[in-house]
Symmetry: C2
């Protein structure tokens, strides 16, 4: 498995709009075992995203899905920064697929 943890900081006041965009194409990503969008209770503009994929290739392929590309196109202008990026190797747990 291939995992990602990261934080996005949205343009002031745009976190809810950006979160909705992140959530809308989730059903269309083959090999996606977990993709959780969370707000940061200590920062009104921050979103934490934790992802688990069958492998890195599935993650890369998802970025080419038309609905996902369209979502990225709409979401990117609402992002100020990406930070705290961490690649992981998930080994098990609850909520995988």
């Amino acid at each position: 498995m291939y995992g990602l943890i990261g934080k996005m900081t949205a343009v002031e006041g745009q976190r809810d709009v950006l979160s909705a965009i992140l959530l809308e194409s989730l059903g269309k990503m083959p090999g996606c075992l977990s993709y959780i969008v969370a707000h940061d209770p200590a920062d009104d503009n921050a979103i934490w995203i934790t992802e688990v994929w069958t492998d890195e290739a599935a993650h890369r392929a998802s970025l080419q899905v038309p609905e996902v590309k369209a979502a990225i196109h709409r979401g990117l202008p609402l992002v100020v920064t990406f930070s705290d990026a961490q690649v992981t190797t998930p080994i098990g747990g609850v909520g995988l697929g």
Copy 2:
């Protein structure tokens, strides 16, 4: 929902043992929607844990489940440090329950 992201650093050489302990009582935690144990590919001793609970009370209650208490008792001596702790407010996604 209530979420946690955090990193544990295991005693040198004990990551696999600690990971197995973390995974073994997962089925016994009411209100646990996601609990993913992952290795850090850049640090042989580090484990990333990402969790989603129905609410904070469910997380607190899990620490009192006998199997979980026993696992904590066995696992703690294998932990050198906890770091990068982040509380989140999950709002949706794939792999929740």
